[in-house]
Symmetry: none
Subunit: 248 residues, 2 copies
DNA sequence: CGTTCCAATATGTATATACATAATCGCCAT
DNA sequence: ATGGCGATTATGTATATACATATTGGAACG
């Protein structure tokens, strides 16, 4: 077999050895277990630890180096690099507030709630390296009688275990999460998209109609917390951001 | 030798084979020689072409795939992907820089230039209260051969009189304004829209196709300076903003 | 004591080989 | 025609091996 199952129990998903080494090390670094400056085990040590060839270890480490997480020095070993920061502005928008600002009654309605072990797509969206339990939620935000936005959300249960006990029937996960989990970083992606059948149906618009899609990933202390995708019908929504230059 | 010199003359720099394959292919893609959708030679063909092992070729292609430049499909081959641009909303975005970050040649082309006395619509867009002279500009930003964004701009000539002397034939008004007019505040509006006949025609897309619209108003010391509307085909563009909370 | 030089060591790159996996094409039977 | 099934093919992952290269620590020598 070219694919190897994780040795541990608990229904470990199948990962290539290369990916397993990669995510193990990345986790150690991102969790802070291995602080910046820490020397990563030598290739030959990892070779022994994972019982694999040096090429496999080398490929994983090279990838981490190219991603900027570690620095490799000949004859000395590989070391965790200092993290690099990025700054920005914009506000985490709360849809209830948006709707109420329009003078319309707000309502949230859950469409689906699914607990599952994270698949490859889930992990990509959340930025997770290892499989684990996630909560997949889908819900509709209403402004008056009309659907205002469709929300598709993933919550990393490893980071927010309490979410497992909440049903989110008519409470939106966004406000629930805020206050419970301090977020330290977020990333927004904004794009336009044509509504597919499913989306058009949920939002009560025509298939193919343009939508604004806002995706947000949130981290708390390096741990991915949630990924959320808001889909707005184009007519209903405009994002506004206002700013002044940071310096002068 | 583990390092190989390029076969060609002209003092070719010493590159690892892996890097040479990588950059060769990247060049072909970024130069446009291999358009999106083009099938890259199979691994065994590249193996023959570069006279190296499959592992070396594989490593290079895997890297390109991970970087998002190509897509690999089993049994079918490797294909050049549609380029995806990502811009930070927060930066006053300069489209030239976005395009060049994609490795594509940039070009600006003026479509229209019109000086007029501001009508009600112009004043609404600029945030002017009294009528006055404005310059209406329309132009296309190209990435390689393809239209990348359509720009519709209004310049308040009362605030920037020198703009009246500039023709903006192949210089985009954005870079021209920066440096001449210090801006103190900006407001962005972002929305999705279906392309109408005119826009579809300019951007070479289908009418009704979703577009991302970014509008920006800029002030300098309380005076409205310019209003600009960028219209991007949905496939080509995603805005990215990343931030940490200002306080905690 | 300091400088030079060599050997040891960890990473860098490449090879040939092997088998797994996914997708497709075409054959064959219904 | 058509729907399923096996062969083919390209990529995916891993192995063992080999030698190159940079850097460091220490031995040898003046």
């Amino acid at each position: 077999m070219s694919l190897v199952e994780t040795d541990d129990v608990e229904g470990g998903e199948i990962l290539s050895l290369h990916q397993r080494i990669l995510s193990d090390i990345r986790d150690k670094i991102l969790s802070g277990a291995w602080a910046p400056g820490h020397r990563i085990p030598f290739e030959h040590e990892l070779t022994a630890q994972y019982n694999c060839s040096r090429m496999t270890v080398n490929k994983a480490l090279s990838q981490l180096a190219k991603a900027g997480l570690i620095e490799r020095r000949r004859r000395s070993g590989s070391f965790v690099r200092q993290p690099q920061s990025q700054a920005a502005v914009l506000e985490l928008h709360d849809i209830r507030i948006e709707v109420e600002a329009l003078g319309l009654p707000y309502r949230y309605e859950r469409l689906e709630r699914l607990k599952r072990r994270s698949g490859a797509e889930d992990r990509a969206l959340l930025g997770l390296s290892a499989p684990g339990p996630v909560l997949a939620l889908e819900g509709l935000h209403f402004a008056g009688e009309r659907p205002f936005a469709l929300e598709q959300r993933l919550i990393n249960l490893s980071a927010v275990a309490e979410a497992d006990e909440e049903q989110f029937i008519d409470i939106a996960p966004g406000p629930w999460l805020i206050g419970r989990v301090p977020w330290s970083e977020a990333e927004h992606r904004i794009r336009a998209m044509a509504a597919d059948e499913t989306i058009a149906d949920a939002l009560d618009i025509d298939p193919g109609a343009p939508c604004l899609v806002v995706e947000r990933r949130t981290w708390s202390a390096e741990h991915p917390v949630t990924h959320v995708r808001f889909i707005y019908p184009a007519e209903s929504h405009t994002l506004v951001a206002r700013f002044t230059p940071s310096q002068g």
